[in-house]
């Protein structure tokens, strides 16, 4: 990208857009420090009580643990599946590669609610409702298309000739992949991991169909909490989620470069 000076009007426009997009998010922060028993803005007093409350809310803490573990497992699995799949589609040019890519990424186009209903029907028969395994499988269905998209794009952007050079120097296909292709794909791999983690962690619609009294994820627990109570507890959770998201984004930025990873 060339570095041209940004016109003032564009700067103002960008600022207004940011305010529009971020205002609701920013509003959550003061509310989370409220001393009131229900969500109002501005709060009548300040306190840390909702954070303390959260620490003692075993249901929320349990859901946070489930969501985190779920997101980690789904991220690892989606990488293990999507990386070889991307390689087969882009580099090995298996028969029908284009059709396969379209098929694998099709869930992106389906309304999540339809997908959720379909999964509910299938899982009910298989006894997977309200189980951790069921959640993992369902989240994989949602996450894999994203992972595959980012990884295929990342791989397709790599010059094949560098891999060819490695093979003429005596590297077997597997060595070429681990020593040359994977390191060059690193920005794409980091982006995929971050995206997979966030998509799974944030997933609410399908989880709603699958969770039950025995197991629940954080977004579902929050949704159910808001349904019955209007206290600022969820605001406190939201702030923690914002911090977590920022942390993930910063890790991506530090390791692979944010613009390089998501913009390119």
């Amino acid at each position: 990208m060339d570095e041209r000076p940004v016109p003032l009007t564009l700067k103002i426009l960008a600022f207004v857009m940011f305010v529009f997009l971020l205002a609701p998010v920013v509003l959550v922060v003061p509310i989370s420090f409220s001393a009131d028993t229900y969500m109002t803005f501005p709060p009548s007093g300040w306190s840390m009580r909702w954070y303390v409350d959260l620490m003692h809310n075993s249901r929320m803490i349990g859901a946070l643990g489930t969501s985190t573990l779920l997101a980690v497992i789904v991220t690892v699995l989606s990488m293990l599946i999507a990386l070889p799949a991307a390689y087969a589609i882009i580099r090995m040019r298996v028969i029908g590669a284009e059709a396969l890519l379209a098929l694998f990424t099709a869930p992106l186009l389906l309304p999540t609610i339809v997908l959720g209903l379909a999964i509910l029907i299938v899982f009910a028969g298989a006894g997977l409702l309200g189980t951790f395994t069921g959640l993992v499988i369902a989240h994989l269905i949602i996450v894999l298309p994203y992972a595959l998209r980012v990884l295929t794009t990342s791989l397709a952007g790599l010059p094949l000739i560098v891999e060819e050079a490695a093979s003429t120097l005596g590297a077997s296909p597997l060595t070429v992949f681990t020593r040359i292709t994977m390191p060059m794909m690193m920005p794409g791999i980091v982006a995929t991991a971050a995206l997979s983690f966030l998509v799974s962690f944030d997933e609410a619609v399908i989880s709603l169909f699958l969770t039950g009294p025995r197991i629940t994820t954080l977004p579902v627990a929050m949704y159910q909490h808001v349904e019955t109570q209007a206290d600022p507890l969820v605001a406190a959770i939201s702030v923690l989620l914002i911090v977590l998201t920022l942390a993930v984004v910063m890790i991506v930025d530090r390791t692979a470069g944010l613009t390089k990873t998501f913009v390119k």
């Binding site: 010059p159 000739i161 560098v162 060819e164 050079a165 490695a166 093979s167 003429t168 120097l169 005596g170 590297a171 077997s172 296909p173 060595t175 020593r179 040359i180 390191p183 060059m184 690193m186």
Partner: protein, 357 residues
């Protein structure tokens, strides 16, 4: 044909709609530097990729040192390849790039590093071992690529237009450097290029390819002085073309009788190198060719171009346009367009080809 160190027999590459390489036969001796020369799409790069194992051959065989490698994967062929776009590993330092091939050959780390440093010194990049490729200029990157391919002491070294991305001055420098390293190490090499100057000035032999077929394999002198086909004559160096009808060694060109060695019967094409033609204007003395048989035609100057070292004349000789060159000496005035001139050249400098093309 004597079997060479690199032996290519009936090598063919067919794609669905086209034949990229058509029945290529070539024998290359140990230590030779051979150019694959031709216009783009002539099959020279495809041939190189087949030798490297990066593209499978449709039919035919490739053997190196008597061993058939046609079905071998590239990483089992012991070949060094220098690419036009360098193809360095962007995530590795210069040293690691050069060491990669040695590592793959399980050379102990200490020895690998010593040999890699030697190779880096040979391409004059000492002190840059820890840089990343992105921190180097194009010329330096190509030197790293060269060191990386040389350090494994491959049985054959392949160059795929390695100088095309460099500017003219650097290209000249790299040309002589590659040649001297190649000679010193005695590595059998193939140099793919579309640049005839590169092919003629660097290589022991040149294989001219056109439309997937080998037109001629010969020394640079063979190609220039004794081109086997009209394509070679016109692709290597510049030439003037005249079409005529042959009868024995006498050829009638637009009513004028010219002679050429070894002409046959029927429609033919004559070719003469521009600088082998001598132009004589009215009032100038005709040069003396001694007892050598000569050809001579009359014409009229249409245009003159000044190019510093030479004056370039375009002459209309009975409807056929010819180029003639005169070296400049400083004081002369160019013969002006419209002047009547005479063109003379030795019969021995006349190339004749059947007019199939």
């Amino acid at each position: 044909m004597q079997p060479g160190f690199l032996s290519i027999r009936s090598l063919t590459k067919r794609y669905e709609t086209m034949v990229a390489v058509d029945d290529l036969n070539l024998e290359i001796a140990k230590g030779e530097l051979v150019a694959f020369l031709g216009p783009s799409g002539c099959g020279k790069s495809t041939s190189l990729r087949m030798i490297a194992g990066l593209a499978p051959a449709t039919s035919g065989t490739i053997s190196i040192g008597g061993k058939d490698v046609t079905q071998l994967a590239p990483y089992r062929r012991d070949i060094g390849l220098v690419f036009q776009s360098y193809a360095l590993f962007p995530h590795m330092s210069v040293l690691k790039n050069v060491m990669f091939g040695l590592e793959m050959r399980k050379v102990p780390a200490a020895e690998a590093e010593r040999r890699a440093r030697e190779a880096i010194a040979m391409v004059q990049l000492e002190g840059r071992e820890d840089r990343r490729p992105a921190q180097l200029s194009g010329g330096q990157q190509q030197r790293v690529a060269l060191a990386r391919a040389l350090v494994i002491q491959p049985s054959i070294l392949l160059f795929d237009e390695p100088l095309s991305n460099l500017d003219a001055k650097l290209r000249d420098e790299m040309r002589s450097e590659i040649r001297s390293i190649q000679k010193r190490l005695g590595i059998t090499s193939i140099f793919v290029t579309h640049d005839q100057v590169e092919a003629l000035s660097m290589c022991d032999k040149v294989a001219v390819l056109n439309g997937g077929r080998l037109e001629q394999l010969g020394t640079p002198n063979d190609l220039y002085e004794r081109p086997a086909t009209a394509f070679v004559a016109s692709f290597v160096g510049r030439t003037n073309r005249l079409s005529g009808v042959a009868e024995g060694d006498c050829i009638s060109v637009g009513g004028k009788a010219l002679r050429a060695p070894g002409a046959s019967k029927g429609k033919v094409e004559l070719m003469v190198r521009p600088h082998r033609m001598v132009m004589t204007a009215a009032g100038e003395t005709m040069p003396d060719f001694g007892s050598e048989p000569i050809n001579s035609i009359d014409g009229e100057i249409r245009d003159v171009y000044y190019a510093g070292d030479i004056l370039h004349y375009e002459i209309d000789a009975g409807g056929q346009v010819m180029s003639v060159e005169r070296t400049t000496s400083g004081g002369e005035t160019p013969v002006s367009p419209g002047s009547a001139v005479n063109l003379t050249w030795r019969v021995a400098d006349t190339l004749v080809f059947g007019a199939a093309q």
